[in-house]
């Protein structure tokens, strides 16, 4: 196959970010325009200061042109994230985070830090959460089996990060597992 091996089995982070572009977010436009008809739907009208909902990619593009403010999702707050971090460090299993939290948070902190309350503290909290989850993921490797990995609430970025490693490891475990011996000895009866 022409595709390099690391692109064959798991989507890259860039591809995941692209998929996140389809998510609908609220914006406060800073310009006046009637409804626009796009392939994915009709968006607008844009009448400041009324909020309107557009896909992430459009919000991103408008924000970069300084034509809107992005309204961050309700989980992008210091309160919510510190609660999750506490949960993450006190419980054994992974806590339930929005499935694409890593991508959304990265994009928002990257292009719209001025629309978020206390972006630096949020950045630190997210990093702590990510590290706590990674450590747990490693511990869960002990219970890995050839058939399934008993891991719940893994998010899309984390899945793509461990996908190749886990599937190859499970392959090897599968090969090392012996089934009850089949009656094959006849083959060698000379």
């Amino acid at each position: 196959m022409a595709l390099p091996p690391n692109l064959r089995q798991a989507p890259t982070p860039q591809e995941l970010e692209y998929i996140t572009g389809e998510m609908i977010v609220a914006i406060e436009p800073l310009f006046r325009m009637e409804k626009v008809r796009l392939v994915s739907g009709v968006y607008g009208p844009f009448r400041p200061p009324a909020k309107t909902k557009v896909p992430m990619w459009l919000a991103q593009s408008l924000k970069l042109k300084r034509k809107c403010r992005i309204v961050p999702p309700d989980w992008v707050t210091v309160d919510f994230l510190s609660l999750r971090l506490q949960e993450e460090t006190s419980q054994a299993g992974l806590s339930k985070m929005p499935f694409r939290y890593a991508e959304v948070a990265k994009v928002l902190l990257d292009i719209a830090p001025d629309d978020i309350m206390e972006p630096d503290r949020i950045r630190i909290l997210l990093k702590d959460i990510r590290e706590a989850r990674q450590a747990k993921c490693r511990e869960l490797l002990r219970s890995l089996d050839s058939a399934y990995a008993p891991i719940e609430n893994l998010c899309s970025m984390e899945i793509s990060e461990v996908r190749l490693f886990f599937s190859s490891a499970m392959n090897i475990i599968g090969k090392l597992t012996v089934e009850p011996a089949p009656a094959e000895e006849d083959m060698y009866d000379f």
Partner: protein, 190 residues
């Protein structure tokens, strides 16, 4: 690890030799033992390669001793602490401990074969979390080389990796590097 016809890994690990004892006299095979006799005498000890040994053993022309990388001493050691044994160094150049072990498992009869297979599997699983940990720490190869202090344990562990584990290590390192690069990238136009 698999016995597939086109698997290069299987071909490489078939070059391992097993100490066999011939149970009967084989005519015209004396040259195998470098002896002047035309016939190979019964009770001659001879290392046979893994691709030849199964035929001999199943036909009961020969019996074999447990190879050194899987004797009781090593088995006890890996059961006690899987991470402390340099399993890659046990089986020579290529360090395919699991593949070789799997072949021995196929040669043995049930209680022993099950025991060895379980040991192999537990060893592999026991080493996985450390393997992933190490791989994620060593995402930047340049900075990895300069690190020191408290790293000796990790370096020790890495030098004893099996060939299959080394492949996993590279996989985990690569995906970890990708995610890291994505986190550090920016869409902002400056």
């Amino acid at each position: 690890m698999d016995n597939e016809y086109y698997s290069l890994e299987a071909i490489i690990s078939e070059n391992q030799k097993i100490d066999c004892t011939f149970q009967l006299e084989v005519p015209e095979l004396g040259y195998l033992d470098n002896s002047a006799d035309e016939n190979l005498k019964a009770l001659t000890k001879l290392p046979l390669p893994c691709w030849l040994a199964p035929t001999m053993l199943y036909a009961e022309w020969a019996s074999f001793n447990m190879p050194r990388p899987f004797n009781n001493l090593v088995q006890n050691a890996v059961v006690a602490e899987p991470r402390s044994v340099k399993i890659g160094a046990l089986v020579g150049e290529n360090g395919r401990w699991y593949s070789f072990g799997k072949m021995i498992v196929d040669l043995l009869d049930d209680p022993e074969s099950k025991k060895l297979a379980d040991t192999l599997k537990l060893t592999f699983k026991g080493r996985l979390p450390d393997l992933m940990d190490q791989a994620q720490h060593f995402t930047g190869t340049a900075s990895a080389a300069t690190r020191s202090g408290g790293e000796e344990v990790g370096a020790e562990f890495r030098s004893g990796l099996d060939a299959a584990e080394r492949e996993l290590f590279v996989l985990a390192q690569e995906s970890s590097r990708q995610v890291k690069a994505w986190y550090e990238s920016s869409d902002r136009i400056r």
